[in-house]
Symmetry: C2
Subunit: 238 residues, 2 copies
DNA sequence: CTTGTTAGTGTCGTATGGTCACTTAATTCA
DNA sequence: TGAATTAAGTGACCATACGACACTAACAAG
Protein backbone atom coordinates (compact mmCIF):
# COMPACT_ATOMS: atom_id res chain seq x y z
CA UNK A 1 0.00 0.00 0.00
CA UNK A 2 1.38 3.41 -0.86
CA UNK A 3 1.24 6.40 1.47
CA UNK A 4 -1.60 8.11 -0.36
CA UNK A 5 -4.05 5.24 0.01
CA UNK A 6 -2.84 4.63 3.57
CA UNK A 7 -3.74 8.20 4.49
CA UNK A 8 -7.09 8.00 2.71
CA UNK A 9 -8.01 4.93 4.75
CA UNK A 10 -6.55 6.22 8.02
CA UNK A 11 -8.98 6.47 10.91
CA UNK A 12 -7.53 8.67 13.63
CA UNK A 13 -10.02 7.25 16.12
CA UNK A 14 -8.92 3.65 15.74
CA UNK A 15 -6.85 4.04 18.92
CA UNK A 16 -8.28 5.44 22.09
CA UNK A 17 -6.51 8.77 22.56
CA UNK A 18 -6.09 10.98 25.64
CA UNK A 19 -7.97 14.26 25.96
CA UNK A 20 -5.54 17.01 25.01
CA UNK A 21 -5.86 20.58 26.28
CA UNK A 22 -3.75 23.71 26.69
CA UNK A 23 -3.52 25.72 29.94
CA UNK A 24 -1.58 28.86 30.83
CA UNK A 25 -0.18 30.22 34.06
CA UNK A 26 -0.42 33.98 33.57
CA UNK A 27 1.58 36.09 36.04
CA UNK A 28 1.41 39.79 36.69
CA UNK A 29 2.37 42.39 39.32
CA UNK A 30 0.18 44.98 40.95
CA UNK A 31 0.29 46.92 44.22
CA UNK A 32 3.49 45.19 45.28
CA UNK A 33 1.91 41.74 44.88
CA UNK A 34 2.53 38.89 42.47
CA UNK A 35 -0.78 37.94 40.84
CA UNK A 36 -2.13 35.01 38.88
CA UNK A 37 -5.10 34.94 36.51
CA UNK A 38 -7.68 32.30 37.41
CA UNK A 39 -10.97 31.34 35.84
CA UNK A 40 -14.00 29.90 37.59
CA UNK A 41 -15.15 26.73 35.86
CA UNK A 42 -18.71 26.99 34.58
CA UNK A 43 -18.98 23.36 33.47
CA UNK A 44 -18.43 19.89 34.87
CA UNK A 45 -16.13 18.45 35.92
CA UNK A 46 -14.86 20.50 38.88
CA UNK A 47 -17.68 23.00 38.30
CA UNK A 48 -17.35 26.13 40.42
CA UNK A 49 -13.69 25.55 41.24
CA UNK A 50 -11.00 27.91 40.02
CA UNK A 51 -8.56 26.84 37.33
CA UNK A 52 -6.00 28.06 34.85
CA UNK A 53 -7.24 29.73 31.69
CA UNK A 54 -7.26 26.90 29.17
CA UNK A 55 -9.22 24.79 26.74
CA UNK A 56 -9.05 22.40 23.84
CA UNK A 57 -7.18 22.91 20.60
CA UNK A 58 -9.47 24.18 17.84
CA UNK A 59 -8.21 22.16 14.89
CA UNK A 60 -9.82 24.54 12.39
CA UNK A 61 -8.52 27.77 13.92
CA UNK A 62 -5.22 27.08 15.68
CA UNK A 63 -2.07 26.56 13.64
CA UNK A 64 -0.03 25.47 16.66
CA UNK A 65 -0.23 24.83 20.39
CA UNK A 66 1.06 28.34 21.04
CA UNK A 67 -1.81 29.68 18.94
CA UNK A 68 -4.22 27.85 21.21
CA UNK A 69 -2.66 29.34 24.32
CA UNK A 70 -2.72 32.84 22.79
CA UNK A 71 -6.33 32.52 21.63
CA UNK A 72 -7.55 31.50 25.06
CA UNK A 73 -5.55 34.17 26.88
CA UNK A 74 -6.80 36.83 24.48
CA UNK A 75 -10.36 35.74 25.17
CA UNK A 76 -9.85 36.33 28.91
CA UNK A 77 -7.69 39.45 28.88
CA UNK A 78 -8.24 41.08 25.46
CA UNK A 79 -4.44 41.26 25.23
CA UNK A 80 -1.78 39.22 23.42
CA UNK A 81 0.74 38.51 26.19
CA UNK A 82 4.24 39.95 25.55
CA UNK A 83 5.81 36.88 27.16
CA UNK A 84 4.60 33.36 26.49
CA UNK A 85 6.75 30.25 26.83
CA UNK A 86 5.98 26.59 27.03
CA UNK A 87 6.32 25.31 30.58
CA UNK A 88 5.69 21.59 30.77
CA UNK A 89 3.15 19.00 29.71
CA UNK A 90 1.26 17.08 32.36
CA UNK A 91 -0.44 13.86 31.40
CA UNK A 92 -1.76 10.87 33.29
CA UNK A 93 -4.80 8.70 33.78
CA UNK A 94 -6.04 10.26 36.99
CA UNK A 95 -5.87 14.04 36.72
CA UNK A 96 -9.25 14.38 35.01
CA UNK A 97 -12.33 12.31 35.83
CA UNK A 98 -13.25 12.22 32.14
CA UNK A 99 -10.30 9.92 31.56
CA UNK A 100 -6.63 9.90 30.55
CA UNK A 101 -5.81 13.53 29.89
CA UNK A 102 -2.87 15.61 28.74
CA UNK A 103 -2.43 19.34 29.24
CA UNK A 104 0.27 21.33 27.52
CA UNK A 105 1.05 24.21 29.89
CA UNK A 106 2.42 27.64 29.08
CA UNK A 107 3.84 30.28 31.36
CA UNK A 108 2.90 33.86 30.46
CA UNK A 109 3.33 37.37 31.78
CA UNK A 110 1.70 40.70 31.03
CA UNK A 111 1.24 44.13 32.56
CA UNK A 112 -1.65 44.22 35.02
CA UNK A 113 -2.77 47.63 33.80
CA UNK A 114 -3.00 46.55 30.16
CA UNK A 115 -5.82 44.10 30.81
CA UNK A 116 -7.41 45.10 34.11
CA UNK A 117 -10.42 46.90 32.51
CA UNK A 118 -11.36 43.82 30.53
CA UNK A 119 -10.67 41.35 33.33
CA UNK A 120 -12.74 43.24 35.89
CA UNK A 121 -15.66 43.37 33.43
CA UNK A 122 -15.88 39.58 33.29
CA UNK A 123 -17.42 37.79 36.26
CA UNK A 124 -15.66 34.42 36.06
CA UNK A 125 -12.10 35.73 35.70
CA UNK A 126 -10.01 37.17 38.50
CA UNK A 127 -6.48 38.17 39.42
CA UNK A 128 -5.51 36.28 42.56
CA UNK A 129 -2.73 37.30 44.90
CA UNK A 130 -0.18 34.49 44.91
CA UNK A 131 -0.22 34.34 48.73
CA UNK A 132 -3.96 33.75 48.77
CA UNK A 133 -4.06 30.79 46.41
CA UNK A 134 -4.65 28.37 49.27
CA UNK A 135 -7.90 30.13 50.08
CA UNK A 136 -9.41 29.15 46.72
CA UNK A 137 -10.57 25.68 45.69
CA UNK A 138 -8.40 24.79 42.67
CA UNK A 139 -9.54 22.46 39.91
CA UNK A 140 -7.71 19.31 38.80
CA UNK A 141 -3.94 19.36 39.45
CA UNK A 142 -3.70 23.07 38.73
CA UNK A 143 -2.12 23.70 42.12
CA UNK A 144 0.80 21.47 41.12
CA UNK A 145 1.08 23.17 37.75
CA UNK A 146 1.19 26.59 39.40
CA UNK A 147 3.89 25.39 41.82
CA UNK A 148 5.90 24.18 38.85
CA UNK A 149 5.48 27.51 37.05
CA UNK A 150 6.55 29.44 40.15
CA UNK A 151 9.69 27.34 40.50
CA UNK A 152 10.63 27.89 36.86
CA UNK A 153 9.94 31.62 37.16
CA UNK A 154 12.15 31.73 40.23
CA UNK A 155 15.02 30.25 38.29
CA UNK A 156 14.49 32.81 35.53
CA UNK A 157 14.52 35.61 38.10
CA UNK A 158 17.96 34.42 39.22
CA UNK A 159 19.60 34.61 35.78
CA UNK A 160 17.48 36.96 33.64
CA UNK A 161 15.09 39.90 33.77
CA UNK A 162 12.19 37.99 32.21
CA UNK A 163 9.93 39.06 35.13
CA UNK A 164 10.00 42.58 33.61
CA UNK A 165 7.28 41.35 31.21
CA UNK A 166 4.89 41.43 34.16
CA UNK A 167 5.43 45.20 34.43
CA UNK A 168 4.10 48.02 32.26
CA UNK A 169 6.25 49.23 29.37
CA UNK A 170 7.82 51.87 31.61
CA UNK A 171 8.97 50.79 35.05
CA UNK A 172 11.50 51.65 37.73
CA UNK A 173 14.41 49.55 38.94
CA UNK A 174 13.08 49.37 42.51
CA UNK A 175 9.81 47.99 41.12
CA UNK A 176 11.63 45.35 39.09
CA UNK A 177 13.81 44.43 42.03
CA UNK A 178 10.83 44.08 44.35
CA UNK A 179 9.11 41.83 41.82
CA UNK A 180 12.22 39.64 41.65
CA UNK A 181 12.28 39.51 45.45
CA UNK A 182 8.68 38.34 45.55
CA UNK A 183 9.42 35.63 43.02
CA UNK A 184 12.66 34.48 44.60
CA UNK A 185 11.29 34.75 48.11
CA UNK A 186 14.13 36.69 49.71
CA UNK A 187 15.58 40.21 49.57
CA UNK A 188 18.26 41.01 47.01
CA UNK A 189 21.23 43.35 47.18
CA UNK A 190 20.27 46.60 45.47
CA UNK A 191 23.78 47.11 44.16
CA UNK A 192 24.19 43.59 42.72
CA UNK A 193 20.82 43.73 41.06
CA UNK A 194 21.39 47.09 39.40
CA UNK A 195 25.02 46.50 38.45
CA UNK A 196 24.43 43.41 36.32
CA UNK A 197 21.50 45.02 34.50
CA UNK A 198 23.59 48.11 33.80
CA UNK A 199 26.64 46.16 32.65
CA UNK A 200 24.59 44.04 30.26
CA UNK A 201 22.85 47.18 28.95
CA UNK A 202 19.43 45.59 29.08
CA UNK A 203 17.37 48.71 29.77
CA UNK A 204 16.93 52.17 28.29
CA UNK A 205 16.72 55.07 30.71
CA UNK A 206 13.86 57.22 29.45
CA UNK A 207 15.07 60.18 31.51
CA UNK A 208 11.63 60.49 33.08
CA UNK A 209 11.29 60.27 36.84
CA UNK A 210 8.38 59.02 38.87
CA UNK A 211 7.77 60.60 42.25
CA UNK A 212 7.19 58.37 45.25
CA UNK A 213 5.02 58.91 48.28
CA UNK A 214 8.23 60.07 49.89
CA UNK A 215 11.90 60.04 49.03
CA UNK A 216 13.92 60.53 45.89
CA UNK A 217 12.04 59.85 42.63
CA UNK A 218 13.05 56.80 40.60
CA UNK A 219 14.01 56.75 36.91
CA UNK A 220 11.70 55.10 34.41
CA UNK A 221 13.20 52.43 32.18
CA UNK A 222 12.09 50.50 29.12
CA UNK A 223 13.37 47.03 28.12
CA UNK A 224 15.62 46.74 25.10
CA UNK A 225 14.46 44.18 22.52
CA UNK A 226 17.12 41.62 23.35
CA UNK A 227 16.70 42.01 27.11
CA UNK A 228 14.10 39.25 27.47
CA UNK A 229 16.32 36.53 26.05
CA UNK A 230 19.53 37.65 27.77
CA UNK A 231 20.90 35.38 30.47
CA UNK A 232 23.60 36.34 32.96
CA UNK A 233 26.52 33.93 33.23
CA UNK A 234 26.21 33.89 36.99
CA UNK A 235 23.11 33.45 39.17
CA UNK A 236 22.12 35.70 42.03
CA UNK A 237 22.22 34.00 45.42
CA UNK A 238 19.03 32.14 46.18
CA UNK B 1 -27.10 18.22 36.13
CA UNK B 2 -24.68 16.89 38.73
CA UNK B 3 -21.15 15.82 38.01
CA UNK B 4 -21.86 12.12 38.17
CA UNK B 5 -24.50 12.14 35.46
CA UNK B 6 -22.41 14.60 33.43
CA UNK B 7 -19.50 12.15 33.43
CA UNK B 8 -21.75 9.23 32.60
CA UNK B 9 -23.03 11.07 29.54
CA UNK B 10 -19.65 12.47 28.53
CA UNK B 11 -18.43 11.56 25.05
CA UNK B 12 -14.73 12.24 24.74
CA UNK B 13 -15.00 12.12 20.96
CA UNK B 14 -17.53 14.92 20.70
CA UNK B 15 -14.67 17.29 19.80
CA UNK B 16 -12.15 16.49 17.12
CA UNK B 17 -8.88 16.01 19.00
CA UNK B 18 -5.27 16.06 17.81
CA UNK B 19 -3.25 12.86 17.56
CA UNK B 20 -1.06 12.69 20.66
CA UNK B 21 2.21 10.78 20.79
CA UNK B 22 5.38 10.61 22.87
CA UNK B 23 8.90 10.72 21.38
CA UNK B 24 12.32 10.58 23.02
CA UNK B 25 15.73 11.89 22.05
CA UNK B 26 18.10 9.34 23.55
CA UNK B 27 21.75 10.39 23.73
CA UNK B 28 24.79 8.31 24.45
CA UNK B 29 28.58 8.37 24.06
CA UNK B 30 30.82 5.79 22.47
CA UNK B 31 34.28 5.82 20.91
CA UNK B 32 34.65 9.55 21.47
CA UNK B 33 31.41 10.28 19.61
CA UNK B 34 28.03 11.62 20.71
CA UNK B 35 25.34 9.21 19.53
CA UNK B 36 21.59 9.27 19.09
CA UNK B 37 19.19 6.33 18.93
CA UNK B 38 17.02 6.32 15.81
CA UNK B 39 14.35 3.93 14.57
CA UNK B 40 13.46 3.16 10.99
CA UNK B 41 9.74 3.59 10.41
CA UNK B 42 8.08 0.41 9.26
CA UNK B 43 4.65 1.97 8.64
CA UNK B 44 3.16 4.87 6.78
CA UNK B 45 3.43 7.81 6.92
CA UNK B 46 7.14 8.52 6.29
CA UNK B 47 7.74 4.78 5.86
CA UNK B 48 11.42 3.89 5.63
CA UNK B 49 12.62 7.18 7.05
CA UNK B 50 14.41 7.36 10.39
CA UNK B 51 12.74 8.87 13.42
CA UNK B 52 12.86 9.18 17.18
CA UNK B 53 11.76 6.21 19.27
CA UNK B 54 8.15 7.02 20.05
CA UNK B 55 4.54 6.00 19.89
CA UNK B 56 1.08 6.55 21.23
CA UNK B 57 0.02 6.49 24.85
CA UNK B 58 -1.43 3.12 25.85
CA UNK B 59 -4.33 4.23 28.04
CA UNK B 60 -4.59 0.80 29.65
CA UNK B 61 -0.91 0.34 30.47
CA UNK B 62 0.66 3.79 30.98
CA UNK B 63 -0.01 5.70 34.19
CA UNK B 64 1.65 8.86 32.91
CA UNK B 65 3.41 10.38 29.90
CA UNK B 66 6.75 9.48 31.42
CA UNK B 67 5.58 5.88 31.64
CA UNK B 68 4.88 5.96 27.94
CA UNK B 69 8.36 7.28 27.17
CA UNK B 70 9.96 4.67 29.44
CA UNK B 71 7.92 1.80 27.96
CA UNK B 72 8.91 2.68 24.41
CA UNK B 73 12.58 3.19 25.26
CA UNK B 74 12.66 -0.12 27.12
CA UNK B 75 11.21 -1.83 24.07
CA UNK B 76 14.09 -0.56 21.92
CA UNK B 77 17.01 -0.83 24.34
CA UNK B 78 15.93 -3.35 27.02
CA UNK B 79 17.08 -0.75 29.56
CA UNK B 80 15.29 1.79 31.75
CA UNK B 81 17.22 5.02 31.08
CA UNK B 82 18.93 6.50 34.17
CA UNK B 83 18.17 10.01 32.91
CA UNK B 84 14.81 10.98 31.44
CA UNK B 85 13.42 14.50 31.43
CA UNK B 86 10.63 16.16 29.55
CA UNK B 87 11.99 18.37 26.79
CA UNK B 88 9.20 20.20 24.98
CA UNK B 89 5.89 19.49 23.31
CA UNK B 90 5.52 20.15 19.61
CA UNK B 91 2.06 20.48 18.12
CA UNK B 92 0.64 21.93 14.95
CA UNK B 93 -1.56 21.14 12.00
CA UNK B 94 1.15 20.42 9.48
CA UNK B 95 3.83 18.23 11.07
CA UNK B 96 2.00 14.96 10.34
CA UNK B 97 0.04 14.19 7.20
CA UNK B 98 -2.54 12.31 9.24
CA UNK B 99 -3.70 15.64 10.67
CA UNK B 100 -3.23 17.98 13.62
CA UNK B 101 -0.72 16.22 15.83
CA UNK B 102 0.99 16.74 19.16
CA UNK B 103 4.16 15.04 20.34
CA UNK B 104 5.37 15.25 23.92
CA UNK B 105 9.15 14.93 23.69
CA UNK B 106 11.57 13.63 26.29
CA UNK B 107 15.32 13.88 26.45
CA UNK B 108 17.10 10.78 27.75
CA UNK B 109 20.61 9.48 28.28
CA UNK B 110 22.09 6.06 28.97
CA UNK B 111 25.38 4.23 28.80
CA UNK B 112 26.10 2.88 25.32
CA UNK B 113 27.48 -0.36 26.69
CA UNK B 114 24.38 -1.13 28.77
CA UNK B 115 22.14 -1.56 25.74
CA UNK B 116 24.43 -2.18 22.78
CA UNK B 117 23.86 -5.99 22.69
CA UNK B 118 20.10 -5.54 22.45
CA UNK B 119 20.23 -2.63 20.01
CA UNK B 120 22.55 -4.37 17.61
CA UNK B 121 20.28 -7.42 17.59
CA UNK B 122 17.33 -5.41 16.25
CA UNK B 123 17.39 -4.44 12.60
CA UNK B 124 15.34 -1.25 12.64
CA UNK B 125 17.13 0.46 15.54
CA UNK B 126 20.54 2.09 15.31
CA UNK B 127 22.91 4.41 17.15
CA UNK B 128 23.75 7.30 14.84
CA UNK B 129 26.76 9.53 15.21
CA UNK B 130 25.49 13.06 15.79
CA UNK B 131 27.74 14.40 12.99
CA UNK B 132 26.19 12.04 10.48
CA UNK B 133 22.55 12.90 11.06
CA UNK B 134 22.37 14.88 7.83
CA UNK B 135 23.14 11.72 5.89
CA UNK B 136 19.92 10.05 7.02
CA UNK B 137 16.39 10.91 5.86
CA UNK B 138 14.56 12.00 9.01
CA UNK B 139 10.80 11.60 9.48
CA UNK B 140 8.39 14.44 10.30
CA UNK B 141 9.98 17.39 12.14
CA UNK B 142 12.31 15.12 14.08
CA UNK B 143 15.32 17.06 12.85
CA UNK B 144 13.97 20.18 14.58
CA UNK B 145 13.23 18.23 17.74
CA UNK B 146 16.77 16.86 17.80
CA UNK B 147 18.20 20.35 17.32
CA UNK B 148 16.11 21.55 20.24
CA UNK B 149 17.29 18.67 22.42
CA UNK B 150 20.92 19.35 21.54
CA UNK B 151 20.57 23.01 22.46
CA UNK B 152 19.02 22.14 25.83
CA UNK B 153 21.71 19.54 26.47
CA UNK B 154 24.36 22.14 25.65
CA UNK B 155 22.95 24.47 28.29
CA UNK B 156 22.97 21.63 30.82
CA UNK B 157 26.59 20.86 29.98
CA UNK B 158 27.45 24.47 30.84
CA UNK B 159 25.99 24.41 34.36
CA UNK B 160 25.74 20.74 35.42
CA UNK B 161 27.22 17.30 34.89
CA UNK B 162 24.00 15.77 33.58
CA UNK B 163 25.88 14.46 30.52
CA UNK B 164 27.52 11.93 32.86
CA UNK B 165 24.35 9.84 32.50
CA UNK B 166 25.50 9.03 28.96
CA UNK B 167 28.56 7.30 30.40
CA UNK B 168 28.89 3.93 32.13
CA UNK B 169 28.64 3.81 35.91
CA UNK B 170 32.40 4.18 36.20
CA UNK B 171 34.08 6.81 34.06
CA UNK B 172 37.12 9.06 33.99
CA UNK B 173 37.21 12.84 34.17
CA UNK B 174 38.90 13.17 30.76
CA UNK B 175 36.03 11.12 29.28
CA UNK B 176 33.41 13.33 30.92
CA UNK B 177 35.21 16.48 29.82
CA UNK B 178 35.48 15.28 26.24
CA UNK B 179 31.77 14.49 26.20
CA UNK B 180 31.03 18.00 27.45
CA UNK B 181 33.27 19.41 24.74
CA UNK B 182 31.39 17.50 22.06
CA UNK B 183 28.07 18.78 23.37
CA UNK B 184 29.20 22.37 23.81
CA UNK B 185 31.14 22.39 20.56
CA UNK B 186 34.38 23.88 21.85
CA UNK B 187 37.30 22.83 24.05
CA UNK B 188 37.12 23.45 27.78
CA UNK B 189 39.82 24.32 30.28
CA UNK B 190 40.81 21.12 32.04
CA UNK B 191 41.45 22.94 35.30
CA UNK B 192 38.13 24.82 35.34
CA UNK B 193 36.20 21.70 34.51
CA UNK B 194 37.80 19.58 37.21
CA UNK B 195 37.91 22.27 39.89
CA UNK B 196 34.17 22.92 39.97
CA UNK B 197 33.34 19.20 40.07
CA UNK B 198 35.78 18.68 42.91
CA UNK B 199 34.57 21.69 44.91
CA UNK B 200 30.93 20.63 44.59
CA UNK B 201 31.89 17.08 45.60
CA UNK B 202 29.78 15.54 42.86
CA UNK B 203 31.84 12.42 42.20
CA UNK B 204 33.32 9.57 44.19
CA UNK B 205 36.86 8.52 43.35
CA UNK B 206 36.77 4.72 43.27
CA UNK B 207 40.56 4.55 43.59
CA UNK B 208 40.71 2.37 40.49
CA UNK B 209 42.75 3.50 37.53
CA UNK B 210 42.21 2.77 33.89
CA UNK B 211 45.24 2.51 31.64
CA UNK B 212 45.21 4.40 28.36
CA UNK B 213 46.80 3.48 25.04
CA UNK B 214 49.60 5.70 26.22
CA UNK B 215 50.23 8.09 29.06
CA UNK B 216 49.29 8.28 32.72
CA UNK B 217 46.25 6.20 33.70
CA UNK B 218 43.09 8.08 34.71
CA UNK B 219 41.07 7.61 37.89
CA UNK B 220 37.64 6.04 37.69
CA UNK B 221 34.78 7.98 39.26
CA UNK B 222 31.16 7.29 40.08
CA UNK B 223 28.39 9.93 40.37
CA UNK B 224 27.01 10.74 43.78
CA UNK B 225 23.22 10.54 44.03
CA UNK B 226 22.67 14.29 44.18
CA UNK B 227 25.14 15.01 41.37
CA UNK B 228 22.57 14.89 38.57
CA UNK B 229 20.39 17.62 39.97
CA UNK B 230 23.23 19.89 41.11
CA UNK B 231 23.66 23.15 39.21
CA UNK B 232 26.72 25.39 39.40
CA UNK B 233 26.05 29.06 40.15
CA UNK B 234 28.20 30.10 37.23
CA UNK B 235 28.25 28.81 33.64
CA UNK B 236 31.32 27.72 31.77
CA UNK B 237 32.17 29.93 28.78
CA UNK B 238 30.28 28.93 25.71
C1' DC C 1 67.00 5.79 30.98
C1' DT C 2 65.21 8.83 27.63
C1' DT C 3 61.22 10.25 25.07
C1' DG C 4 56.38 10.63 24.21
C1' DT C 5 51.83 10.95 25.86
C1' DT C 6 48.12 11.76 28.73
C1' DA C 7 46.48 12.73 33.72
C1' DG C 8 46.39 15.85 37.06
C1' DT C 9 48.00 20.38 39.89
C1' DG C 10 49.79 25.29 41.26
C1' DT C 11 49.22 29.86 40.65
C1' DC C 12 47.96 34.15 39.10
C1' DG C 13 44.81 37.17 36.66
C1' DT C 14 40.07 38.72 35.89
C1' DA C 15 35.14 39.02 36.10
C1' DT C 16 31.22 39.41 38.85
C1' DG C 17 28.31 39.16 42.82
C1' DG C 18 28.00 40.41 48.23
C1' DT C 19 28.29 43.89 51.60
C1' DC C 20 27.62 48.23 53.37
C1' DA C 21 28.42 52.89 54.00
C1' DC C 22 27.71 56.93 51.58
C1' DT C 23 25.53 60.58 48.58
C1' DT C 24 21.48 62.50 46.20
C1' DA C 25 16.87 64.18 45.58
C1' DA C 26 12.59 64.41 46.79
C1' DT C 27 8.62 65.33 50.85
C1' DT C 28 7.08 66.68 55.41
C1' DC C 29 6.79 69.29 59.26
C1' DA C 30 8.33 72.31 62.49
C1' DT D 1 13.49 78.34 55.50
C1' DG D 2 15.67 74.52 57.00
C1' DA D 3 16.14 70.18 59.64
C1' DA D 4 14.34 65.43 59.65
C1' DT D 5 12.77 61.61 56.99
C1' DT D 6 12.64 58.57 53.25
C1' DA D 7 13.81 56.16 49.28
C1' DA D 8 16.94 56.16 44.98
C1' DG D 9 21.22 55.55 43.44
C1' DT D 10 26.73 55.12 43.88
C1' DG D 11 31.61 54.00 45.58
C1' DA D 12 34.70 50.96 47.31
C1' DC D 13 36.40 46.78 49.04
C1' DC D 14 36.01 41.85 49.61
C1' DA D 15 35.04 36.98 48.30
C1' DT D 16 34.38 33.52 44.98
C1' DA D 17 34.91 31.03 40.86
C1' DC D 18 36.43 30.61 36.27
C1' DG D 19 40.29 31.37 32.41
C1' DA D 20 44.89 30.70 31.17
C1' DC D 21 48.93 28.29 31.16
C1' DA D 22 52.93 26.32 32.85
C1' DC D 23 54.19 22.77 35.60
C1' DT D 24 54.57 17.94 37.69
C1' DA D 25 53.16 12.85 37.75
C1' DA D 26 52.61 8.33 35.96
C1' DC D 27 52.51 5.24 32.66
C1' DA D 28 54.47 2.73 27.84
C1' DA D 29 57.80 2.05 24.18
C1' DG D 30 62.28 1.91 22.47
Amino acid sequence: MDEKSFLAAYDKHQFDAPLTSVDSVLFSYHQECLKLLLVQRSNHPEQGKWGLPGGFVDLQVDQSLEDTARRILRAKTAIDPPYLEQLQTFGNGSRDKRGWSVTVCYSAMMAYQSCEPHVSSVADVQWVNIDKLDQLPLAFDHGDIIAHARERLKQKALYSIVPAYALPELFTLPELQHLHELIIGKPLQKKSFRRRIEQAELLIDTGEKVSQKSGRPASLYRMKDRAGSFTFVRNLEE
